[in-house]
């Protein structure tokens, strides 16, 4: 066991998220904390999975990376997000501008509502290409076509002048990816980018993201509640539960030796590896509601292996249980062999 409380420090780290606390200031004195103690790194050219049930705070962490918390009335109360010497947690609107979209791209959640319905594909791509800078229209169009080509849209010259409602969900999401990579960013944040798409299209989009990551040497942060998907495309993953990172590690490590009962439970509830005919296993209970977190480990109430010391004291911090594999479980010793 390492004494290093900070997970994931590595020379490859592109972004270091430390003790991030996100919440909503409801009144002068009343704060609703949605995420506390998010701790992980994003490494260069990796695909990082961010997994957890809804309400676990993964989307908030995402938004903190692209600086759009404020639109949801949320803000960062503590902690840091160090990216290339900048602390993203403390940027004002003006300082965000060169970062957001330029160095960190974003693929929205829903293919249905992600693209602006009143603008043509070309116009939206144009915005991403232009970035408020003067560029000749001809050049913008050329670059737009290039981008559409990059995301494997077959007739870019047709699609370029179409409105989103004229496109399929998969194509819309490709357009969104094209817009996200327009400025050749270091990181692309994709918040459940395949919501509402059917399975084959979902796979295509994932493959596309993988391809782009490797081609442009980008990091991809993929948010999902679908562990199977993460397993398939990600290098490392961060498991979030009730506003906390409960496990961080490489995909093979976490798959072979999960170090948190929550991860194990998530794995058990996977549809793709369920035994045919056997009843589907679900995680018992509901995740604790935001703002009503119990003391100690927030998974304690739902945990099969809960011990007396679990539900008391502070929320347990991540500990590097094995090399480059962190867990916030106080009793990882009980997990040995429970999952093969």
């Amino acid at each position: 066991m390492s004494a290093n409380p900070v997970p994931g420090v590595s020379p490859d780290s592109l972004v270091e998220i430390r003790d991030l606390v996100i919440g909503i200031q409801r009144t002068r004195k009343d704060r609703l904390i949605i995420v506390d103690s998010a701790n992980f790194d994003i490494r260069r050219a990796e695909t990082l999975g961010l997994v957890g049930e809804s309400g676990s705070g993964k989307t908030m962490v995402c938004r903190s990376l692209i600086g759009t918390l404020k639109r949801r009335s949320a803000s960062i109360f503590a902690g840091s997000i160090i990216f290339d010497g900048l602390d993203l947690a403390n940027l004002d609107e003006r300082q965000w501008r060169p970062v957001r979209g330029n160095r960190i791209g974003y693929v929205p959640q829903s293919a249905l509502t992600g693209p602006n319905p009143v603008m043509t594909v070309g116009k939206q791509l144009g915005e991403a290409v232009r970035r408020n800078r003067k560029r000749k229209d001809k050049d913008v169009r050329k670059r737009g076509m290039e981008l559409l080509d990059l995301v494997h849209i077959r007739r870019p010259e047709v699609v370029y002048d179409q409105y989103p409602f004229q496109l399929s969900g998969g194509m819309r999401q490709r357009v969104m990816i094209a817009a996200a990579i327009a400025q050749d960013p270091d990181i692309v944040v994709a918040d459940e980018p395949t919501t509402g798409l059917d399975v084959t299209v979902q796979a295509e989009i994932m493959k596309l993201l993988q391809e782009i990551r490797s081609e442009f040497n980008m990091s991809v942060v993929l948010v999902s509640h679908d562990l199977a998907l993460i397993d398939e495309v990600c290098d490392r993953l961060v498991v979030m539960h009730a506003g906390t990172c409960v496990e961080v590690g490489t995909v093979p490590d976490v798959a072979s030796t999960p170090l948190h009962p929550y991860t194990i439970a998530l794995n058990r509830s996977r549809i793709d590896i369920a035994t045919p005919g056997a009843p589907l296993v679900t995680i018992k209970g509901n995740p604790p509601a935001v703002g009503e977190w119990p003391p100690g480990c927030r998974f304690a109430e739902r945990c099969d292996l809960v011990q007396e010391d679990c539900a008391v004291g502070r929320n347990p911090a991540l500990v590097e249980v094995r090399p480059a594999h962190w867990s916030a479980c106080l009793h990882t010793e009980l997990l040995g062999g429970s999952h093969g």
Partner: protein, 338 residues
Amino acid sequence: MTAPTPTTDAESALKESGHGDGPRPQSTGEKILRRTGRAIIVAFWVMVVAFMLIRLSPGDPVTAALGGDAAPETVEALRKTLGLDVDPLTQFWQYFTGLFQGDLGASLISGIPVTEMLRTNLPVTLWLILTTVVMTLVISIPLAMFIALARIPGLPYVFRTLTAIGLALPSFLVALILLYQFGLVWGIAPIFGYDPTFPANMQYLWLPALVNCVVLVPVLSRVLYSSILDTLDEEFVETGVIRGVRSFRFFWFYVLRPSLAPTVVLLSYMMGVMVGSTVILEIIFALPGIGRELVTAVTMRDYPVVQGIILVFGILVVFLSLLGDIVASILDPRVKLT
């Protein structure tokens, strides 16, 4: 990792997304043509109803024109002169055939052709409607945006209360109050009159249009306000922010334009309703519009004038709703023109 499958081309993509299935989609021109055709049919029925209503209602043009003290032979003579001695079916046929020659008949009272009355008086009503639309939008849009974006606690509540009050006020009362305050106390609006040239006519139209606004702005700004709130919740607003879209471009393309369609459609519908309220305003503000002529014509049972004006009003209402749909579909391509 296998290479991504190239996407299906546009046609099959269309199918996949559930849009545009069925036969070849109609062009906007065809749709407008079809809508116009429907409008004409509606106008015909409006005309038939107008023809019947005015004849079925008690009272006739001759006694209305001559008053209570006319001798019976005088009444009979006038009836003959006005062509009212034939049966209603013949009257309708004469009217209907005349319509195709651009002849709407002439006033039984003044003898002025209805087309002539429309030529002089309809523009006033149209200008009033146009001014109302512009003023309503100019007031509603910033108001709705301010309430939606300013996030001042309690403001939406105040807004809701005020809109309820605005809606509850009868427009003739608002008209008289505003006319008293702006026209007499402050002396910044003429009490009556009209100048048929633009922009001189604005001087006479802004106050009646403002009265319409008292009813329209609460409704429209409330609809727009909730549309804007809905739009702000949409993800594409986020993508806009991330692309660094700012200022007017952001407000127009990412906030306002995606929110405007329901407001525009509602406005065009409300304007149809407001055609009725312009009648009251034309009387109170002494504007020589066509609505005022209609009131006079109804009390005088001036059949050709009533029929002609109701026909035009019917066409106007249908046209306004058509226009609203077209504008909405231009602003927001998601809106389908049916």
